[in-house]
Each structure stands twice: as structure tokens, then as C-alpha cells.
């Protein structure tokens, strides 16, 4: 899988859906881009409705929290999100599967 998107669609501090199938959202903290599955592992609430604070994404449905740097679930260990590799070619970001 490879998804290429213009960087100008991303805004610092916002969760942006860049792909619906598979659903992938990207968060830009002002320095780095983080990409992960955009559906909460718990009850499938859309994670773009969530809030990010200090690298923790909290789902608005029931408060499940994820570490956006690696997708790990902080509130329910073992129930994390798939996260993706993000590279930057200057104009675009490119999302790829992580090497296994």
C-alpha cells in the first residue's frame, strides 16, 4: 500500500483523514507526521473526531487512548492501532506499510 498526499492538506494539530479504504488518518505535530488506522479498536468510532494531547490520541466515544507515535493503546494494552511509515518528499507525504 502507498498513499501520496499533498502536505498542504495537513494542518498542525489536526487529525486528517487521508484515505477511506483503508481508513488512514494523519496527525502533524508541527515537526513530524504520524499515520495510523482511523477507526477505534474498541467500538469503531471515527478517530478524526478525537483529540490529541502530548502524543496521546483520545477517542471521543469512550475515552480509549492511543500513543500516536506507535499506535499502542494506552488504556487497553494490546488493543492498539495499526500505524504506518510516513516519508516526506518536500511537497507530499507518502504513507507506506511498516516493514515487518
Amino acid at each position: 500500500m502507498e498513499i501520496k498526499k499533498k502536505k498542504d492538506m495537513l494542518e498542525k494539530g489536526k487529525l486528517v483523514v487521508i484515505s477511506e479504504k483503508p481508513k488512514v488518518i494523519v496527525y502533524f505535530d508541527g515537526e513530524k507526521y504520524f499515520a495510523f488506522n482511523g477507526i477505534c479498536s474498541h467500538a469503531k468510532w471515527p478517530l478524526e473526531l478525537g483529540t490529541v494531547d502530548d502524543c496521546t490520541l483520545t477517542c471521543v466515544g469512550h475515552g480509549w487512548a492511543y500513543n500516536i507515535t506507535n499506535g499502542e493503546c494506552k488504556t487497553n494494552p494490546g488493543r492498539g492501532l495499526k500505524s504506518y511509515m510516513v516519508s516526506d518528499d518536500g511537497e507530499n507525504i507518502i504513507i507506506r506499510e511498516k516493514d515487518v
Binding site: H42, K44, L49, T51, G63
Partner: protein, 441 residues
């Protein structure tokens, strides 16, 4: 069509000809003599609407399925529940003597009469059973979330049903962080965060479902026992009041729904007319109400706690036998739990016990008397309550919700697998759950 709010998650919905009561906890405390409903004065049996045609109960937690209230109803009244993967909840209702229990498949509507249709909605959790309810008549539709954590697809389907009135939970109902060995600062910080998350969830549920009127309910209880008063603090406690979700909604910039703050015994008609019969308990007056309630129920509550009795001399061997059985029978749960537990049954005939639920331990004694320093989870629970749980008279979860115990953990993280084992250690249930769990994670 109108709804009478009877406190906590209890609603009485009346159409032209029929009445259905949902999650009737009205009188007395629940969760091992700890919780009271958010009321100015404790309710009496006169507050129980026993002349109903139907009862719906969302799940088996004491604050929704409370024996003292249910005992006042005729056992021939039909009780509707959601069809869950296990019969555990069904069997609990049978034990109370009810003769007509109907299990509804999730999202399959059931016409109870010419003018009353209900739809039960199951939660998506693998490990815990809960449900919400849609109630429909010719005059309108009412949604009761109870405290069901719904999947997003179901929330959108409720929106499509265009409810006129929705009742939504807004508060934590949990022992975290109340019972944990944290500094006051840490406990306060976690409590505030949890309360904020729950209120945020209320705003988002209402915003997706968009009823014309939304009521914040199934919120925090009151803990009037003198030993537990600190849990009630409206600023530092995790349990909120209904003015808080209303403010959060009003500040969210969302629109299209009016938030109605209802006190127990208030009524709301399907067109939104709010009939006030009581003063609501808000974050501003909660502690005054609590202090009065604490005095009012003190003697009764102390009597109830005394009547819980004390642990028997056999308790140590009962604890060892119980945990050896449930841990040895569930190897797949052990693999996921992977921790050592120090259990202290506190008080007369109690003792210290080690539960070895590590994934590498395959045989031998899983439970024994003694103490260890390298525990991952520490539980100190009144011995007589431990006895009730190992005897299966008291759900562990009900005991935990009482907040009448102390806990610690290392590392400091939630272990849903351990709670799941205690929730219902039936090996068939556990095996079925992990077949699915391991496929999706």
C-alpha cells in the same frame, strides 16, 4: 407519551395504554451498600411504579438490576432483556422468581402492543454484556443509552430512528482511580481527566444521535457512607453532575438539541414539556445534599453493613480452591493476563494470598497463601466480601464498583483480561471470547 425519570438510569415510559419501566433501581443502596441514586432524599417503596406492563433491564450491574427494587414487582410482569452470548444474566433474573423473561436479538424490533415497540441494542464489547433501548410509539421515539458503550454504526442507526428524547450517560461508573494507591494529586488529575472524557462522550453521542431533547442520566451516584465521602467531591472526584454535560454541550458550539436537566421524579412529555417535581442535584449543591443524605441514611446503612456478616474460618481454603479452579481451567486467559496478584482478604478469618496468573506457569498451585514483593496487581478487600465473591453470591465487579477496597498495580496499567476472568470465569465463555479476540488483534 411521556417519560418519568426515576433516578440514575431508571426511566418509566408511558404511552396512551402501556407503561414500561427500564433499569429499575429506585430504593436502597446498591453495589454492596455503597451507592445511592442522585436524589435529595432517599426514595421509598412508594416511588416504585409497580403497576407497569413491562420491564426492560439493560444488563446485570446492580445499579440497573437491583434486587431490592425488583422484589416489589409482580413476578408475572414480562421482563425484556437483550440476547447476550451467555445465559448468565437471564439466569440471574430467573433466580429472582420472574416467570416471563424474553430475550431480544440486537436491533430486532419487538412490538409489545398496538402502540409500543422496543428495540434492544447490544454493546460491541467481547468481554462485557450491556445494551441500550429504543422505545417507539405512534407519538414519538425515546432512546435510553443506559450505560451501554455503543459502536458507532449503532449510534448512527439510532440517529436514523429520529428520537424525540434521548437519555445519555455522562459519568464514570468505575473504581478507577478511587481505590488506587495514588497520591492525592495524581488521583485528582486522573479523576478530572476521566470525568472530562465521559462528558465529552455525552456531547458526541448527543451530537451524532441528535434527538430534539437530551437528558444526562446514568451519571455518578452518591456515596453517603462516612468512610467514602471523599469520592463525592464535585471538583476532584470522577463522578459528575448533570449540569456539567449541559454546560459542555452549550460550550461545544453544537446545536439542534436542547439539553434538559432532570431531577429524579421529573417528567418530560414527548414534545419536550418538562414537569419539575424535584430539585436537581448539581455540582453546586451536591455536597450539601450529600451531607444531608449521609445523616438520613446513616443508621440504615450501618445496619445493612453489619448484616453483611463476617468471614468464616474456612475462607482461606475457599480462596485457594476458587482461584486454583478458575485459573487452571482457563489457560488462554492466563496467557493474556500474565501477572501475579497479591490478594489480601482483610479482617477476621482473612489472610494474604498469591495468585500466579503468569503465562509461563502451566501447572501446580496457581493460588496459595503468602505474600510476594513482585506483584503486578495488589488488592486489599474486606474478607467477608471476598467470601461472598468466591461463593458466587457477589459479582467481583459489583464488589469492585462499591469502591470498598484498595488496589495498586505495577506496571500501572489496566488489565482487561484479569477483570474479564473474574467477570465470568466459565471456560466455554472465555475460550469463545479469545477465539474472536485473537483473530482481530
Amino acid at each position: 407519551m411521556f417519560v418519568k425519570f426515576l433516578g440514575h438510569a431508571c426511566t418509566l415510559i408511558e404511552t396512551k395504554n402501556k407503561r414500561i419501566v427500564i433499569d429499575p433501581w429506585i430504593v436502597g443502596p446498591c453495589n454492596v451498600n455503597a451507592w445511592y441514586t442522585l436524589r435529595n432524599k432517599a426514595a421509598t417503596k412508594k416511588n416504585i411504579p409497580t403497576d407497569v406492563d413491562y420491564i426492560y433491564i439493560s444488563h446485570g450491574h446492580d445499579d440497573h438490576f437491583q434486587k431490592e427494587t425488583l422484589q416489589e414487582f409482580n413476578r408475572n410482569i414480562p421482563i425484556y432483556i437483550c440476547k447476550f452470548p451467555t445465559d448468565k444474566f437471564f439466569n440471574k433474573i430467573v433466580k429472582l422468581g420472574f416467570k416471563n423473561i424474553i430475550q431480544l436479538s440486537s436491533w430486532r424490533s419487538e412490538k409489545l402492543s398496538e402502540d409500543l415497540e422496543i428495540t434492544s441494542i447490544k454493546n460491541p464489547d467481547l468481554m462485557f454484556e450491556d445494551s441500550a433501548l429504543l422505545v417507539k410509539s405512534k407519538e414519538g421515539t425515546v432512546f435510553c443509552q443506559t450505560d451501554c458503550k455503543m459502536d458507532f454504526e449503532s449510534v448512527k442507526r439510532v440517529n436514523a430512528a429520529k428520537p424525540d428524547i434521548g437519555f445519555f450517560m455522562y459519568s464514570v461508573a468505575n473504581w478507577y482511580p478511587g481505590v488506587y494507591n495514588y497520591t492525592k494529586e495524581k488521583k485528582d488529575e486522573i479523576s478530572k481527566k476521566r470525568k472530562h472524557n465521559k462528558i465529552n462522550a455525552f456531547v458526541n453521542y448527543v451530537n451524532v444521535i441528535k434527538p430534539k431533547y437530551a437528558v444526562a442520566y446514568a451519571g455518578g451516584p452518591l456515596f453517603p457512607h462516612k468512610s467514602q465521602l471523599k469520592l463525592n467531591d464535585p471538583v476532584t472526584g470522577a463522578f459528575g453532575c448533570p449540569d456539567e454535560p449541559k454546560s459542555a454541550w452549550n460550550n461545544s458550539g453544537n446545536s439542534g438539541t436542547e439539553i434538559v436537566t432532570m431531577a429524579a421524579d421529573d417528567e418530560i412529555t414527548i414534545d419536550g414539556t418538562h414537569i419539575k417535581n424535584n430539585e436537581p442535584i448539581l455540582s453546586t449543591n451536591k455536597m450539601d445534599v450529600l451531607n444531608e443524605l449521609s445523616i438520613e441514611v446513616e443508621d440504615d446503612l450501618n445496619r445493612r453493613r453489619r448484616e453483611e456478616g463476617e468471614a468464616s474460618k474456612k475462607l482461606p481454603s475457599m480462596i485457594v480452591d476458587y482461584f486454583n479452579k478458575i485459573i487452571s481451567e482457563n489457560p488462554v486467559a492466563r496467557k493474556h493476563i500474565d501477572m501475579k496478584v497479591q490478594l489480601v482478604a482483610d479482617g477476621k478469618n482473612g489472610g494474604e494470598f498469591v495468585l500466579d496468573i503468569t503465562k509461563d506457569k502451566q501447572s501446580g498451585a496457581f493460588a496459595s497463601q503468602g505474600n510476594i514483593d513482585d506483584w503486578n496487581y495488589f488488592m486489599k478487600i474486606p474478607a467477608h466480601l471476598v467470601e461472598k465473591s468466591v461463593n458466587e453470591e457477589l459479582l467481583w465487579e459489583t464488589l469492585f464498583l462499591s469502591c470498598r477496597w484498595q488496589a495498586d498495580r505495577s506496571p500501572d496499567q489496566w488489565n482487561e483480561h484479569f477483570i474479564n476472568l473474574l467477570y465470568d470465569p466459565d471456560p466455554t465463555r472465555i475460550t469463545n471470547i479469545y477465539k474472536i479476540y485473537e483473530k482481530i488483534h
